[in-house]
């Protein structure tokens, strides 16, 4: 009897204690602060964010916030989401050559030269640029990686991009297989992109006279890509990757806003026509990347060779060095990139009036022969326990600065009045980026 009484008393005390604990826990959960809730929400996600400011000397400026979020799934896979927004404004080259006399052009939205607010005038000797250029782009993408077996993973994904005059949708899929103790990975990827263009003022009739405003309609293009990759762990501190890729785009590949000066024998412009590019383009590229690490430093070297059916061949080399401080919570990362390309077969800085020429022509300097150099430096600091309740391993704040210079080379000399003018001014730009990873 005594034992039963003690057991009943003990049960009552246990129930009372449990109720007290539960009510205390409930009270605590009700008092959970917003930061704590945010911390729990982000607990399994790795967040990277950055805002880049890009500024060209006398031309375009852009601001670009980017956010990506990734988390591992319970089966060892991964979900990756990303979002980008670009806002651009400034002056964009329209393709025409400089001239000894002032030149007046119509904005893309103009229907005639009559409306003064739709025209702009470029001074003698100056590169013709549309000073009212502005654009905005929103883009988002997602990738899901999942295990097919212990050594094989598949990734499926897609991305979407929207501008006032351009929409793009891409789907991609790839499969990776590892062997040799996971020291070797081979991968095969495919992608398919569909783009829809609604040029402001309509798509111009290729090679039509600029003053006739023969424009209208929407255009589209599509592309397919194939990428074969091999990744190899070479040593305890050396990793290498080699890719070969092939992609083909077809459809409307013109820039609807680019024109070409038609000059006479004296070098003076007599008219302007819209550009025309081939309606298909196949690119092949080979890419090699090596990464080597030491205790407080690492180096990444990448090389790329590309050739396409437009006659463009390019070489790219980039090296990044990273040095850590003794505590390994701060680093400095200088980088250099060198790039050169040959001109497209149909690149023409101008057309000489009444002179025979092929069906394709573009004065877009991006299709000219040039070389470019980029110098950059990045500083990063691991915040780890410096953020109080927000603290987490891997939290990082970083700043990056880059300078880009493009120099046009081997452009034909200007005849007559064009001689002595700066026909190929090139491009200088800076990029400043602020980043935060959590």
């Amino acid at each position: 009897m005594q034992l039963e009484a003690d057991t009943a008393g003990l049960r009552r005390r246990l129930i009372a204690a449990s109720c007290a604990l539960l009510s205390a826990a409930t009270a605590r959960s009700e008092e959970t602060s917003v930061p704590e809730k945010l911390g729990r929400l982000l607990e399994n996600w790795q967040i990277q964010s950055a805002v880049a400011y890009y500024h060209e000397d006398g031309r375009i400026q852009a601001i670009e916030p980017v956010v990506s979020a990734a988390r591992e799934t319970s089966d060892g896979g991964k979900i990756d989401l990303n979002f980008t927004f670009d806002s651009l404004s400034g002056s964009s080259p329209n393709g025409a050559s400089p001239s000894r006399a002032a030149q007046t052009f119509a904005s893309p939205s103009a229907k005639s030269f009559d409306a003064a607010r739709h025209t702009y005038t470029v001074g003698p000797g100056r590169l013709p640029v549309d000073p009212n250029y502005s654009d905005a782009r929103a883009a988002g993408g997602a990738n899901w990686t999942f295990n097919l077996s212990r050594l094989t993973q598949a990734t499926v994904g897609g991305k979407f991009s929207y501008e006032d005059d351009f929409y793009s949708a891409t789907v991609n899929a790839s499969i990776d297989h590892s062997f040799n103790d996971k020291n070797t990975t081979v991968s095969l990827g495919v992608s398919s992109e569909n783009d829809f263009l609604q040029p402001i003022g309509g798509a111009p009739v290729p090679l039509s006279d600029y003053t006739l405003f023969e424009k209208g309609g929407h255009k589209s293009k599509r592309g397919e890509g194939l990428l074969l990759g091999l990744t190899q762990v070479m040593t305890r501190s050396w990793l290498t990757q080699a890719n070969v890729s092939l992609d083909r785009f077809s459809g409307y590949l013109n820039d609807p806003y680019k024109i070409i000066s038609v000059i006479d024998g004296t070098g003076n412009p007599v008219s302007y026509v819209y550009e025309n590019r081939p309606d298909s383009r196949t690119r092949r590229s080979a890419y090699l990347e090596n990464r080597v690490a030491w205790q407080r430093s690492s180096v990444a070297l990448s090389l790329r060779y590309m050739t396409d059916t437009w006659g463009v061949r390019s070489d790219t080399a980039q090296v990044r060095l990273r040095w850590w401080n003794a505590a390994r919570d701060q680093y400095l990362e200088p980088s250099v990139r060198w790039y050169r390309q040959s001109a497209a077969d149909f690149y023409r800085p101008w057309i000489v009036n009444n002179e025979a020429q092929g069906p394709d022509a573009s004065a877009d300097s991006r299709l000219a022969a040039f070389h470019a150099l980029t110098y950059g430096v990045k500083y990063g600091i691991k915040l780890n326990d410096r953020l109080g309740w927000f603290a987490r391993e891997g939290t990082e704040f970083n700043l990056r600065l880059e300078y880009y210079q493009q120099t046009i080379q081997d452009g034909p000399a200007g005849p007559g009045a064009l001689s002595g003018l700066n026909l190929y001014p090139g491009l200088k730009a800076i990029l400043f980026q602020f980043g935060f990873s959590y």
Binding site: E64, V66, S68, T84, D86, K159, F160, S161, E163, F166, S168, T170, N180, D181, K182, N183, T184, G189, S191, E193, G225, L227, L228, L230, T231, Q232, V233, T235, R236, S237, L239, A242, N243, V244, D247, F249, D255, R283, S285, A286, Y287, R291, A293, S302, R304, Y305, T307, W310, V312, S314, R322, Y331, Y339, Q341, R366, T374, R400, Q406, A429, L431
Partner: protein
């Protein structure tokens, strides 16, 4: 060119079995700066700039840009 790269890759692959490390030797390789996608947003932002200013794109990944800028 593609054929040469594939042939070289085949030769490279056949040599793969003598390369590599054991799982417990991956300390340096597991660092963030040794990941092939370790430059994440920097590469995405740079690739967008280069895509809009040059005639080449891709190599590390697919060549498409999803941008009307070029």
């Amino acid at each position: 060119m593609i054929g040469c790269v594939i042939a070289l890759s085949t030769v490279f692959c056949s040599a793969c079995s003598s390369l590599g490390v054991k799982p417990w030797q991956r300390e340096l390789l597991s660092r963030q700066d040794m990941r092939l996608d370790g430059n994440g947003l920097d590469d995405a932002i740079d690739d967008h700039v280069y895509f809009s200013k040059e005639a080449s794109s891709g190599g590390r990944s697919f060549a498409g840009g999803g941008c009307g800028c070029n």
